[in-house]
Amino acid sequence: MAGRLSTIGLRITHAIPVILGVVVVSFLLTRALPGDPAVYFAGAAANEQSIAEIRTALGLDKPLTEQFLVYAGDVLTGDLGNSLSTGQPVLEDLANRLPASLELTLTALLLSCSIAIPLGVLAATRPGSAVDHLCRVLVTAGVSLPTFFTGIVLIYVFYYLLGIAPSPLGRLDFIYIEPDHVTGFYLIDAAIAGDWETWIGALKQLVLPATTLALFTLAPLARMTRAAMLSALSSDYIRTARAAGLTEDKVLFTYAFRNALLPVITTLGMVFSFTLGANVLVEKVFAWPGIGSYAVEALVVSDYAAVQGFVLAMALLFVALNLVIDLTYTLIDPRIGFETK
């Protein structure tokens, strides 16, 4: 166990240069953005003087290296600065919005897994059959749709034409009362509070955006499941197991599936971090108050602190996620150690 702890420690030290790199690159990237936040925020009737005042107030008149040192120092103390466009501390904004994005992404992935994995297994057991081809075409069609397009079509059909879906107004129709803040996940918070009306309300809001994202994530998961299952099924130990006369179900689920899980989990991790970054567009369409839409708004107005904060948060999340995946690996397959490349 001590060995495992120290290897986790090693993994974390490996992440440090990555985080450092992200801090530097995001700082430089925001500074390379065109436009002058001071001008933007000086407002409609600003003159040279008021713009200069704002520039000083924001510390943008200092040399770049000094700005970076100030920023790095602030980050070390946990201060991500104030967002100019929402007027709130970035940390507060992220804390408010991250649960919304996570809830959406996780729901979408859950939905996606529950469809993609059985589909993948089904396809792998009958490679080359019509079922296999159909699965392939279906999931490929899903990943071929731009998410913003799917989202708008779903809103048009299910809300506007059919009137089945609730109005696409973010996480909760305003007639519901927001559940007490515990985790920030409305489904969990509402369940904790025992408020099932709100729970259903929140779930209803989730259905369309989650479906949009799930359609997009079906393909990598289903494909990887199929490929991993195929390679597991064609391996020697399966042949041995079959030769030993084990039932097909036992072979399939106990041996093959368990081994196929590893690459699927890696893919899941990649898909998760990719989706979290890419649901920018879905959040925009569904007025979802997540961090993706926050980042877009911030980027367009050159809101330095907000963009940097967002990127840093995502990078930390990414590093943490990889750590979790590695840990899961060892749980599923204890043979895999942490030896680093």
């Binding site: 240069p17 953005l33 490679p127 731009p146 195929l230």
Partner: protein
């Protein structure tokens, strides 16, 4: 996704590979379909501007927002431009963006990955951390940032898409090269007096190509979606250039008011192209992965 394909055998007989390809195509109608769809795309890209019935740029305010009809099969947009013409003409630009972006990341990724995999050591560590850093970024937002910082032109969309893809190629090549740098055939080539670079380029790198082709094909589709997403945010190509992403993005605002054809047709074209590349990638994987040979 790559690690599966790494099992491909180092030295394949060319005719064997061809025969295998023919076998896979015969036994896999979907891949055959993908190849024929790809042919359609190519025709549209090469001959498109000569085939279309109207000038894709010419506005006609009197004909604005006409639904699909015999004269305008896909209807007209808010400036009265023919949607069919614009959809067809856009094929070339969209393919160029994705092919250029993917080629660029393929090239840079291969070089960096080969260096990291062949020589290892500190250079490997530095490059690895660099790729980690890029991958730790939310990729779409990184692409947005790059385009926003450099200005929204076609070249910058290409660069942005290329940058975010480099790590995937570099990782793949690095792994392939790393496995083989001490393999017998590489050692033999070296002993025969070949330079490191020659061994790397001629003997080792070609082994990484099959899995790379799969990645390329999947990436082409993804690059188109990426460009479309950038357009949706407003960071895409310049108007009045016809491009699927920007057409869907603009058309999306007209769906609720009933002018569905503005977004649906370019959306379908976009889907068609991405779909083709994805199926193609899948098919190529079947061809290069001998484990499929059952």
């Amino acid at each position: 996704m790559s690690d599966l394909a790494t099992a491909s055998l180092p030295a394949k007989q060319p005719d064997g590979a061809l025969a295998h390809a023919a076998y896979v195509l015969r036994s896999n109608p979907v891949t055959l379909l993908a190849f024929s769809m790809f042919a359609v795309l190519l025709v549209a890209a090469i001959l498109g501007p000569a085939l279309v019935p109207y000038d894709p740029m010419a506005s006609n305010a009197a004909q604005a927002l006409q639904p699909p009809s015999f004269d305008h099969w896909f209807g007209t947009d808010n400036l009265g431009r023919d949607v069919l013409s614009r959809v067809v003409v856009a094929t070339r630009l969209d393919l160029v963006i994705s092919v250029a972006a993917v080629a660029l990341s393929f090239l840079i990724g291969s070089i960096l990955g080969s260096i990291a995999g062949y020589w290892g050591g500190w250079i490997d560590s530095v490059l690895n951390r660099l790729f980690d850093t890029i991958m730790a970024f939310p990729l779409f937002v990184l692409a947005m940032g790059i385009v926003a910082a450099l200005g929204n032109t076609v070249e910058n969309i290409v660069y942005a898409t290329a940058v975010i893809n480099i790590p995937f190629y570099a990782r793949l090549v690095r792994a392939e090269v790393n496995i083989r740098r001490d393999a017998g055939f590489a050692q033999a080539a070296k002993l025969a007096g070949n330079s490191d670079i020659r061994v790397l380029a001629v003997h080792i790198f070609p082994n990484a190509l099959p899995p790379m082709m799969v990645q390329v094909s999947l990436n082409l589709g993804w690059a188109i979606l990426n460009a479309a997403g950038l357009s949706f945010i407003g960071l895409g190509v310049r108007p009045p250039t016809a491009e699927w992403g920007i057409m869907v993005a603009e058309g999306a605002n007209f769906i609720v008011s009933g002018e569905w054809w503005l977004a649906i047709f370019p959306g379908l074209a976009l889907m068609f192209a991405v779909f083709t590349f994805n199926l193609l990638g899948d098919g190529l994987r079947d061809i290069v992965d001998p484990r499929q040979r059952t």
